[in-house]
Symmetry: none
Subunit: 222 residues, 4 copies
Amino acid sequence: MLNSNFPLPDGLDTEKKGGKKKDSRIQVRNREKILDAATEIFSMYGYRGATIDQIANKAEMSKPNLLYYFSSKEALYLAVLHNILEIWLQPLKELNEQESPEHEIGAYIDQKIEFSRLYPMASRVFANEIAAGAPILKPVLDTYLRDVVRKKARVIKKWVKRGEMIDIDPYHLIMMIWAVTQHYADFAVQIDSVLGKTLDNRRFYNQSRKNIKQILMRGILK
Amino acid sequence: MLNSNFPLPDGLDTEKKGGKKKDSRIQVRNREKILDAATEIFSMYGYRGATIDQIANKAEMSKPNLLYYFSSKEALYLAVLHNILEIWLQPLKELNEQESPEHEIGAYIDQKIEFSRLYPMASRVFANEIAAGAPILKPVLDTYLRDVVRKKARVIKKWVKRGEMIDIDPYHLIMMIWAVTQHYADFAVQIDSVLGKTLDNRRFYNQSRKNIKQILMRGILK
Amino acid sequence: MLNSNFPLPDGLDTEKKGGKKKDSRIQVRNREKILDAATEIFSMYGYRGATIDQIANKAEMSKPNLLYYFSSKEALYLAVLHNILEIWLQPLKELNEQESPEHEIGAYIDQKIEFSRLYPMASRVFANEIAAGAPILKPVLDTYLRDVVRKKARVIKKWVKRGEMIDIDPYHLIMMIWAVTQHYADFAVQIDSVLGKTLDNRRFYNQSRKNIKQILMRGILK
Amino acid sequence: MLNSNFPLPDGLDTEKKGGKKKDSRIQVRNREKILDAATEIFSMYGYRGATIDQIANKAEMSKPNLLYYFSSKEALYLAVLHNILEIWLQPLKELNEQESPEHEIGAYIDQKIEFSRLYPMASRVFANEIAAGAPILKPVLDTYLRDVVRKKARVIKKWVKRGEMIDIDPYHLIMMIWAVTQHYADFAVQIDSVLGKTLDNRRFYNQSRKNIKQILMRGILK
DNA sequence: TATGAATGAGACTTCATTCAT
DNA sequence: TATGAATGAAGTCTCATTCAT
């Protein structure tokens, strides 16, 4: 689950014997279990707060066995982050200047919210890493992420030029969308506290999507 | 700095001899130094990741001396959170239904962004706590925060009824504003990576405020 | 290489199926590879410092496979030590009272230095074990080694009686020769540091032999 | 005991807060206890084989408290080695070309054997480190040790020129003396095994000194 | 014969906290 | 008020060994 196996933009190898032999069934299964468990634990306690013990427990595995698959806590964390980054970024890549901004940006918001709903923990790990100053992810952000964003900023500028949107800084727009959509993953707890009730998950996200799109689309479209 | 000393809504006592005697000059000074140091360290490493050693170092104090002022790591963390909560919440309390939403909400956004700019670390600690499921802050959120928000939601509903805003769920609006404004504190690093340059702080926040207000106001006002 | 397969003086069995079946070609080869690798690794890190992993790697073999040949780390270490002891001792056994001390002791020194040159690592393992208090080798030293030395001490005493040598304690003489010759294996590194240059191996040992023999022979012969 | 506190030839600092404040009584006492315990344990098991637990036990101290004084196992090992090096080297420095080689070299041998008798464990740690390839001490050996030896080699050459000694390589002579004298520390156990009896310590060393000096002096003096 | 997978025991080290002064 | 000294608990990681194939 959530294991995109995307080709890393840099040569980072997060696993022990990186691909020398095809992973056996059991290896694949275990690696997945570990990544899922790690995502959950890291999302709750951050990198330093999480313990290998907790992760191993959740993955139903002994500590040394976990370390057999990922040689250190840091390697595991890296693997989790890389795992997330790609899925997190994919929808942005699909912005297509041929289509209308209404359709494209609407679809983008939909996908981001869906991601927050499906993988709230992955999303939180990502947010935590960023908020901590991206000590580990910075190299990737500095190259890969920036390139992707730059390309899509150009698309938005095209829409502005065509008069289909108000004249806005595309970078700030992208970041606003990130802020708002990610919020729904990062702050699920806060939302409960504020609203004072635990909502039906699907209904809540539907309503959120509606509100967010209403405001943002109204705010940017001509 | 940032020490609001607000009257705690619940009976939480975070300090050792809480008020029995008037604090001496030096005590006040030390308490402040500790809180500032703690805010910074907690913001970078999270609760479990931070160490008392780091905080004591930054506060130019020995570990035992720090513990003389705040009896435990948890007590210190609590103090930091409470410190933040009040300042964080203050601007919302000022929403005044007598005025126009344009003015009031505009002012609110301004203040939130200013807070993010001035206290990015405090903001991050807050965000971290929330994202971790608010293990410590939940009781406060569940009572105090909810009350404040409920009151202000009523103000917004008034504006809607008066036809000064589009018909939107006030809770979601408040959360969107939080999301967007807080983002600028939590993700300062990401912003650098995405934009590919370290911006002049003041100019950057000015531009951000302009963009955010442009979109949000346009999105909600009639 | 260096596998003397001498008949163990005591019943120590270091291998798993000790001789029940004739070893196949590949088995013999593997055993040798393991012993050589183990000698090198043990020589560098001592018994506890060495890891089976390192040895297995050097022997190009998996850990479990290594343990198939030698049932435990201790068994392997024992095998290495026994391997060395015999070769180490052989030249002493050849001291022949019929010949002159000049010729016999000269030959002995030659052989000891040659051994140090050829098997510096084996020599170091031996030295390490001794220096550690011979926890494993003590039983052998206490019986086998002592017997050999006692016999040869008698030979030396004969030479003294015949007036061919000065009157010296034979045990101390033997130990001096051990000390000096073994030194050249144990302290190869120190020698480099002291002399400040890496010498041509063969030339260095030739020169050493000359110096050592010059002093010792002059010191003991009449 | 054995804490020479010599001025390190290089800037190596092995302790935590290196000299900022005068060490208190208790600190000095504890540091000494630790160094003594460490010397003993390292001498028996080598660097990797020794455990901090063992050392802390022997020093009657908790593990964390030991680490309070020496920040890591490696730092402790370094301290032990430096402690030894200087004492080990001191007697050589005293070789005085004004005096006769008979007297000076005789005195040198006396002191080396005395050192072996008094600090056999320290001597063994030193030997172990060297035999392991001096992974930690090499920088010091490569500079400091070499300089000292070079100077003293010149003294010996003077004696040769004056015709008071046979024509011998001074480096090899120095190393022979090291070999023989150190042997009595490194191989105390072996000596027992070979001689078949545990000797009265003082008597044994006296006899050893006599034999060694007899052979070496006869071997080199004219 | 060979090796991937797994683990209990234990290693080094960190850390919140307490003690004594 | 301040701090040097001390420690139990816990964390990351290593390693000899076993299991299953």
